[in-house]
């Protein structure tokens, strides 16, 4: 026995969030949903497109939130899963002439498998190591997509063009508006499923692992299984988001899925509040609109504005939008009294 032992005081990667604090109340949820349903009726097609992207990125941030806020593992490599989903959808639509709606569950399944497999080696990693491995995955992904070997399918550097679907059953809607409602339906469905997942047995297992891995395994939680499962679920949802993204943007190319995207999604989660599912949409709005505004101030400044805002968030409101929401709730309660 050496006198000096290396003791690693393992602090949880993420601060604990009780499961009740993870969602909005029913009333608030319905108001938000109604707003999301009605908003596109009053705005131009371009803004509808941006709102669609808001939902799509919101879905991707939600997926990351399940992984990080739920099971305490993080990933800087979500762009890789997003890319796999997008390419799966695009390839199926363009090469197999499959209906766009059918490609989404397939994209989800493919990404689930991919995430589950990536979760296997990732099992041995925690904290910074996991961040590192996923960071490397995100950096390597565009190069993998450019490979000559897959070029027949992926279109290489040029990528693939995807046709935008028309509204079905002769509904009198523009393509953008149809896609928006289609995306909204999927987002709401996945959101409800995620909330239920986190409230289920598996969700509690995730949170037990997040808060204390050793205690969780002592309680009989199969740590390895649930960690890889969390990775799989997260990747699967990201894959669906990627597929939707490919349909909305009508284009996939390797350079659309760089580390920048992975970083954006990560930022979205931090800004929205880790472990607070509705925050995903807030975070997604942040990563879509802030760069635009920053470009408006000065071209090429968006990265800096992003970074500075992020520092402000982690210094001033470490829990992101969740913290703001709690303060707001307190104020409203006070006013009512």
């Amino acid at each position: 026995m050496s006198a000096v032992e290396d003791v690693v005081t393992e602090a949880p990667a993420v601060e604990a969030v009780p499961k009740r604090a993870m969602t909005l109340g029913l009333g608030t949820s319905l108001v938000v949903l109604a707003a999301l349903c009605l908003a596109p009726l009053f705005v131009k097609n371009f803004i509808i497109f941006q709102m669609t992207m808001l939902l799509i990125y919101g879905l991707a941030v939600l997926a990351l939130n399940i992984l990080t806020g739920g099971s305490g593992q993080f990933s800087l490599g979500q762009s890789a899963f997003y890319a796999v989903g997008a390419y799966t959808s695009a390839i199926l639509m363009e090469h197999a002439n499959m209906n766009y709606a059918l490609t989404l569950p397939i994209a989800g399944l493919v990404c689930f498998a991919f995430g589950f497999l990536f979760g296997q080696p990732a099992l041995r990693l925690s904290g910074v190591y996991l961040a590192l491995a996923t960071f490397a995955l995100a950096t390597a992904m565009p190069q993998l997509l450019k490979l000559g070997f897959f070029e027949h399918w992926t279109g290489g550097v040029q990528g693939l063009v995807v046709t935008k679907p028309d509204a079905p059953f002769g509904l009198p809607m523009s393509q953008d508006m149809w896609l928006y409602y289609f995306t909204l339906a999927i987002t709401v469905g996945i959101y409800i499923a995620s909330v239920n997942l986190l409230r289920s047995r598996s969700g509690r297992a995730f949170m037990a692992i997040r808060d204390n891995e050793i205690a969780a395994s002592a309680m009989g939680v199969d740590v390895a299984l649930y960690k890889t499962l969390a990775f799989g679920v997260s990747a699967g949802i990201t894959g669906v988001a990627g597929g939707l993204g490919a349909i909305a943007v009508q284009f996939v190319a390797p350079d659309g899925y760089t580390i920048t995207l992975a970083i954006s999604l990560f930022l979205g989660m931090v800004v929205g509040g880790v472990g607070w599912l509705p925050g995903s949409i807030v975070g997604s709005a942040f990563i879509i609109f802030v760069p635009n505004m920053a470009e408006g101030i000065s071209k090429g400044l968006s990265g800096a504005v992003f970074g500075v805002l992020l520092f402000l968030v982690i210094f001033l409101v470490p829990h992101g939008a969740r913290q703001v929401a709690i303060v707001a709730q307190g104020l409203i309660a006070k006013l009512k009294r």
Binding site: D6, V8, A13, V128, A131, A136, Q143, L267, F311
Partner: protein, 292 residues
């Protein structure tokens, strides 16, 4: 056989750069137990500073020394302003901080110096080294500087009071504080040194990859791979890891069909994952012992 020797030597030369990056990563990891994802961008920014100094007419070695001093000060400043307040925060917050720093530096460098590719001078010249066809003088210089740096660091950590204090602060912060070591400043010092080492790596590789704000992306991943291979807790391991990764990269690019240039980053990824799975502590790292 000549091709083989050639590739190994070229691998050692690029490995020298990865070794520098890995060394910088390990320095900060030792000090604060976090991986600095902004390390590559910090090195890039330092390189731009040296380039700017040279544009203003400062001779190479003058710019070199001045840049090291500025980087050192810059590293300490970043630690004091941004990361000291985050010392007790969860890992996630720290990762977010590094990512934010990454975005800021990348964007600011692009804003000041724009994204066009710039030539960067080499102090060693690019003629063949000592008349041999195998490596260029610049590559030999890169290897020389890295080895020199390693020796200097070894002397610093092994034979100076402050080096000892830094090691103590990194391995047992509480005890170090009890014997009167200012651990907080030791961390800042670690940041300063890491930034300066990163600057050396940047200035050495700039003649090879050319100077532009995104130049360190791939290098950083290789630096991480090298640090992981050597063990994140061992500076010597980081350097050896760097050379091994450089050689491996070149040999894989030459001999495995279909790898070539386009698969280089995925190789680093594969390397990181394989090392972490097979030997998580790396070749020279201390295994992590968890107390329940």
């Amino acid at each position: 056989m000549e091709l083989f020797t050639n590739q190994v030597l070229a691998g050692i030369a690029t490995g020298a750069i990865y070794a520098c990056m890995a060394l910088a990563v390990v320095m900060i990891y030792q000090a604060i137990d976090h991986l600095n994802f902004a390390q590559g961008e910090m090195a890039m920014f330092s390189t731009f500073i040296s380039w700017q100094l040279m544009q203003w007419g400062v001779p190479y070695w003058g710019a070199f020394v001045l840049t090291l001093a500025l980087s050192f000060a810059g590293g300490i400043l970043i630690e004091r302003l941004l990361f000291k307040p985050l010392a007790k925060a969860p890992i996630l917050t720290n990762v977010a901080g590094f990512i934010a720093l990454f975005a800021i530096i990348n964007s600011v460098a692009g804003l000041i110096w724009d994204f066009t590719i710039k030539q960067y001078p080499t102090p060693f010249g690019s003629s063949p080294f000592l008349g041999s066809q195998l490596i260029s003088t610049h590559q030999a210089g890169m290897i020389g500087v890295t080895v020199l740096l390693l020796v200097l660091l070894f002397i610093f950590f092994q034979y100076t009071r402050i080096g000892l204090a830094m090691r103590a602060a990194a391995s047992l912060p509480e005890s170090a504080r009890l014997v009167g070591i200012n651990t907080s400043w030791m961390i800042a010092l670690g940041w300063g040194m890491a930034t300066a080492i990163g600057a050396i790596a940047g200035m050495l590789i700039a003649p090879v990859v050319f100077l532009e704000p995104n130049m360190m992306g791939g290098v950083l991943i290789y630096g991480f791979a090298a640090a992981v291979l050597g063990g994140l807790t061992s500076p010597l391991g980081a350097v050896i890891g760097g050379f091994l990764v450089g050689i491996f990269e070149n040999l894989a690019g030459t001999y495995i069909p279909g790898v070539g240039n386009e698969l280089k980053l995925p190789i680093a990824l594969a390397l990181i994952i394989v090392v972490l799975v097979v030997k998580p502590a790396g070749l020279f790292g201390r295994p992590i012992v968890k107390r329940v």
